[in-house]
């Protein structure tokens, strides 16, 4: 079941015989990758759980309008990224919390999260990541942890390849500085 390619799954949608079955295949194929991508952005498991569910509901609502000339996995990542950013923005709006305080809250979550198990250097590394600007952090995550190519990343984030390379470079330098200073 998991061996079907993206094109084959999309073909099942287009045939219209059993869209629920095709959707289930898509969820099972990408749920873990999307979850970890979201989790690295929102940090907290409960928030990531909300975001992943909302992401799949949006996918279900819009899959009929998806153009098969695009890659489905970049489309999925784009929806997931936007949903994760929306959640952080809602938190800022809801509690009138300035930007820096949300990042501080995420740092506190890392320190107290039951579903976070790390060595000292891993924890230090995650806290250093949270000191990056939001978009720079997402670029770093996609490149460093998921090994995504810049052109795919460009489709996900709607940013030029050149800007993404610069952003990743700045992120690496900042993290090095933080890790070596402390």
């Amino acid at each position: 079941m998991g061996d079907l390619s993206d094109k084959e799954i999309l073909a099942l949608f287009e045939q219209g015989g059993n869209p629920n079955y095709a959707f289930n295949l898509l969820v099972r194929k990408y749920q873990e990758k999307l979850y970890w991508h979201i989790r690295r952005i929102v940090i907290d498991h409960d928030d990531a759980n909300d975001v992943i569910q909302n992401t799949w509901i949006k996918v279900w609502q819009n899959i009929a309008g998806f153009r098969s000339d695009s890659k489905i996995y970049t489309w999925l990542y784009r929806i997931a990224t936007n949903e994760a950013i929306s959640l952080l923005n809602k938190k800022r709006t809801k509690f009138f919390v300035p930007l820096v305080n949300v990042e501080r809250t995420l740092s506190e979550t890392i320190k107290s999260d039951d579903y976070f198990s790390a060595t000292d250097i891993q924890k230090k590394f995650q806290l250093a990541l949270l000191k990056l600007p939001e978009k720079q952090r997402i670029v770093f995550n996609l490149k460093y942890f998921e090994g995504m190519q810049y052109d795919a990343m460009s489709e996900v984030l709607g940013t030029s390849v050149g800007a993404l390379k610069a952003s990743y470079h700045h992120a690496v330098k900042k993290i090095e500085k933080i890790m070596l200073l402390d």
Binding site: N20, F23, N24, V27, R28, Q31, E32, Y35, W36, R39, R40, H45, I52, Q53, W56, I57, W60, Q61, D113, Y115, F116, S117, A118, T119, I121, Q122, K123, F125, Q126, Y144, F145, V172, E176, M179, L180
Partner: protein, 161 residues
Amino acid sequence: MTEKEHTGKFWETHSNELKINPFQVPEGYFDSLPVLIADRVSTPDHRRGFIFMPRFYLPAFGFAILVIMVFLITNKKESIIEERVLNSDELASVIYDDPTLYDISEDLLIEIIGESAGDQTESEQEGAMEVTPAATQVTDENAIIDYLSESDIEELIYESY
């Protein structure tokens, strides 16, 4: 060792450890997630759009009620103002309180008083030419006393203005 070598060495040394995912999920989470998602997408609520969600229409309904109430209250006040008629006291107080009255200059007041005094003198002179029985009664104090005596009025009430 240069700074570049130092930082490059940092990533080389820690790369394996840093790439390990320190985040965890509850046991069996990824087995139950597809079922949960399938359940949610099959619920009709998610196909209706956000405008029909309670979190949207309840505040919208409250806001609509507020707008209607403000509209009704405003209209009621206007209709009261239209129907109300001022009585003489209120009218007098309005005129008394009218700040524009204090804007009249002193010279203008003197001029108006002078004119009205002149008019009065002229009318007195004209009145003197035509002597009526009533005028005679009023001007002659003795005649008044006689009148009161004849009319059996014992007490003279004199009011000076």
